[in-house]
Symmetry: C2
Subunit: 186 residues, 2 copies
């Protein structure tokens, strides 16, 4: 019998804790490290407790997905408020998020998700849907070929950060960013 059983119940907090741990574990040990046993144990909860919050493993991953896309959406909204130019506004906000992600704590969570995303057809579909929804939402301002190209480049940079496949020095990074912002405006 663990402490969690006795302490004041805070289901929302436990839920959050489980998501955080799942993200951390997949960073440290790869996607294979995200097992129900490992997550529950590292979160100080029994396996049964984990399965109470998330009825199966996919639900846990989807929870992670929703959590992170939620954060992304808020960050994008915030970024868009600062941008006076309508055309390409969403694209620039998206770009900012990718550039800001590097080195941040949240980036870890995203790395996890990217990997899980590609592996699991169900999550792949969820991401597809998210992109489609944004495309619809900003069809008036961000549907040009130029904007699309910028977003693809941002995804490529994101992938490069995850794979660590390119070593890009900060100066080059900034140059590219400026060029991409430029492309989003024309």
């Amino acid at each position: 019998m663990s402490i969690a059983h006795h302490r004041r119940k805070q289901p929302e907090r436990v839920r959050q804790q489980l998501l955080e741990v799942a993200a951390r574990l997949s960073l440290e040990q790869g996607a294979a490290g995200v097992t129900l046993d490992a997550v529950s144990q590292a979160a100080g909860v029994s396996k049964g407790g984990l399965l109470h919050h998330f009825p199966n493993k996919m639900a846990l991953l989807e929870g992670l997905f929703d959590d992170l896309t939620g954060k992304l959406e808020r960050t994008i909204a915030e970024e868009m408020r600062k941008d006076a130019v309508a055309h390409g506004r969403f694209t620039r906000a998206y770009l900012s998020c990718v550039f800001a992600l590097q080195g941040e704590a949240d980036a870890q969570g995203w790395q996890v998700l990217t990997i899980a995303l590609l592996s699991e057809p169900q999550l792949r579909e969820r991401w597809r849907q998210w992109v489609a929804d944004r495309a619809d939402e900003y069809v008036g301002t961000d549907s040009s070929a130029g904007c699309l190209l910028v977003r693809l480049a941002a995804d490529g940079l994101w992938l490069a950060d995850i794979l660590r496949s390119h070593e890009i020095d900060p100066a080059t990074r900034q140059m590219m960013r400026a060029q991409l912002i430029d492309l989003s405006q024309q």
Copy 2:
């Protein structure tokens, strides 16, 4: 006792068959579908037979990787021979490969690999090394920020094709390609 045991032995052919099947399976059922049992069975070979050719699962995945990067290298070399302009020559060849990949049979193999790549640190490192080697090889012609940006955009497009996250009509595709080729030259 299966037929394979009796037919004329063609180890190289069996090896190739195993690689093809592994690629197909991961496309149809995701990375999780690539199990030793499934691959060997679908290739009409026993599990022992598979493990004769590839001593363990990672060796199978590495075999797949080498097979596909080999093809990529040959295609790039071919494409580079057609290009008279030195600056950005490799980048444009890389770009051509990504654009050509769409809808092709080989694309399936690459999709597999991308997923496996992200999941397995060992393969991630292998890809990192490949990129680093190319960067060294073409440092004189393709190391500008513009070329890097083009390659990142190509990777983004590649990712989009895998995830099917963006629906890009052929006309837009061609526009983007032209723009990227342009960027690689300046």
